[in-house]
Amino acid sequence: MKPFWALSRAILRGFVRDRTSVFFAVVFPLMFLVLFGGLFSDQSVGKVDMIVVGDASLVDDLPADARDDFDDTFHVVRSDDLDDALDQVRKGDADVAVEQQGDTLVAHYSQTDPAKAGIVAGTLRALVDGTNIALTGQQPTYDLRVESVEDDSLSTIQYYTPGLLGWAVAMSAAFGAAATLQGWRQSKLLRRLQLAPVSTRSVVGARVSVTVSIALVQMAIFIGVGGIFFGLTLTGAWWMAIPLLVVGTLCFMAIGLLAGAITKTQEGAVNAANFLVLPMAFLSGSFFALDDAPQWLQTFSELLPLKHLNDGMLDVMVRGEPWTAALVPMAILAAFALVVTLVAARLFRWDTA
């Protein structure tokens, strides 16, 4: 056990003293969290700017309770000029322009901000449906409250914390493994360790333990910052994110090993890891939801391990899914880790030459 602890301590010290690594593992992803959490949370609680063009009886004659909900969601401006109103929506000065053509309520909105577009479409549909039912004179069997549109979709911080955490862990695990493999190979430290009475198990175990510990610290920081500053609320089985994150770490260490095995320099290894992880983060919903992406892209994203890590984390951390929801992503990530490690092992060389 002594060699294991000595190696773990050495690797951990090497990491903590490397400001660039610490920055990219912790500070950089956290900047995104603060950025997204801060920027977009204002928008989602802010009202939707609506221009009502001409007379729109449907909007004007709302019953009192619906009126309150409506006023909570929309900030209404009147106008008589449809072209001018459309222009404002196009420029982003207003979020939606509404006109009534006979019995049809026409909403002109921009897809620039998918969150607001969703609120607009959902709220107005509920409004129209509600009015239709009210006109039949019957008590509605089902009730739909206007705010339900907002509650149904995850608030910004709820969505971004798991995704950005997944990206952060993927990045530090892949970079750590790639840089260690290349650096140790170049300094011949790998060879030197081969000539010391240490088992491969101790060496690999030490590197994995350090990376997993770093991942768990990343998780603690993310949940802490999200909870304290942005109102992140974790749901029931959030603790399942811990084993999920551990398996995810192994998977991305394997990807880092592969990057380290196919490259010849430390810079090359880190670049290769970046090349694999950064596009994957975009395509796996770390930075934005893929719900509006084309179908082929969504299908493709299913092939990416980070997508499964993110989905699993979302499920258990904020969507309130039971702990079993993490099992399938864990199995997929483990399979990925195994296959990629085997490939990396085949390509592995002891020396750079």
């Binding site: 000595a6 010290r13 090497g14 300094s187 000539l195 009475p197």
Partner: protein, 278 residues
């Protein structure tokens, strides 16, 4: 008494290149052997194969009575290795570095500190390895190789890129180590180093060992004339230096005289030629 190293007909090939070509070599226990050769002669490959890092294409290497390949965890604690590069854990201090290596061999931290003192790095103990000078890094690397008190020590060009003072200090250290009964094998391309330190020298080129003998025997074998340089820069080349010097003494011209016999460098150039190597 068994030999510390027995290499028989060892061959290592990289593609078309025969890096080590049928080498046979015996190193006795307690001996100090220098492997000399120009760059690319195959010294490092030979050393790494004997250490057990590489599987021989053919032939055998036996170290302390045990086969070098495959990796044998019982053999490893008995050998100490300094590789050509400075193989350190990144961003650790000198002390943390040697403590880590000590722990890998199950050696107490106190012994590691003694080694820091022995190689004169106490003042630099808290400096990170990246901030050490070439000589300091080299000494730390050697201390890390010796921290577990091995019977057999391999050093691959330990004095490369050192200034003259650092080289002398290192020579003293290596002589101490050898005199305390350890077998030392080092590669170098400094002739004076091999001449001063090594009991026997193996000159290697193109993957082969050309000669393996004591430095004195090699120089004798060269049979080079003696050059006597007088104070007025007159040079006398002779095969009978004793008689020549007696004649000069009678003439009262011994002041400022320099006498040069053949050197290991002459032997080396005689054996390996003078063309440039990559």
């Amino acid at each position: 008494m068994t030999a510390a190293i027995e290499v028989t007909d060892l061959t290592m090939t990289y593609g078309d290149l025969r890096a080590v070509d049928g080498v046979t070599l015996t190193v006795e226990e307690g001996e100090f052997v220098g492997i000399l050769g120009p760059n690319g002669a195959g010294k490092t490959t030979l050393l790494e194969t004997i250490e057990g890092l590489r599987r021989p294409d053919s032939g055998t290497a036996t170290v302390l009575g045990l086969p070098a390949w495959p990796r044998n965890p019982r053999l490893l604690p008995r050998i100490g290795v300094q590789l050509q590069a400075s193989s350190f854990f990144e961003r650790l201090t000198a002390r943390e570095q040697i403590h880590t290596f000590a722990a890998l061999y199950g050696v107490a931290a106190g012994r590691a500190d003694e080694w820091l003192e022995r190689v004169g790095l106490v003042e630099k103990a808290d400096a990170r390895v990246e901030d050490l000078s070439g000589g300091q890094a080299q000494r730390l690397s050697i201390a890390c190789a010796l921290v577990h008190d091995p019977e057999l020590v391999f050093l691959d060009e330990p004095t490369a890129a050192l200034d003259p003072q650092a080289r002398r200090n290192l020579w003293d250290l290596l002589t101490d180590i050898n005199e305390s009964g350890r077998t030392v094998v080092l590669t170098t391309h400094y002739m004076d180093e091999a001449e001063i330190l090594a009991d026997r020298v193996a000159v290697m080129d193109h993957g082969r060992i050309l000669v393996h003998a004591t430095p004195a025997a090699l120089i004798r074998r060269l049979d080079a004339p003696t050059r006597i340089t007088l104070a007025d820069d007159e040079v006398i080349t002779t095969r009978e230096p004793a008689a020549e010097l007696a004649r000069l003494a009678e003439a009262g011209r011994l002041d400022g005289v320099r006498v040069q016999t053949g050197t290991l460098e002459d032997v080396f150039l005689d054996l390996t030629g003078r063309e440039y190597r990559a």
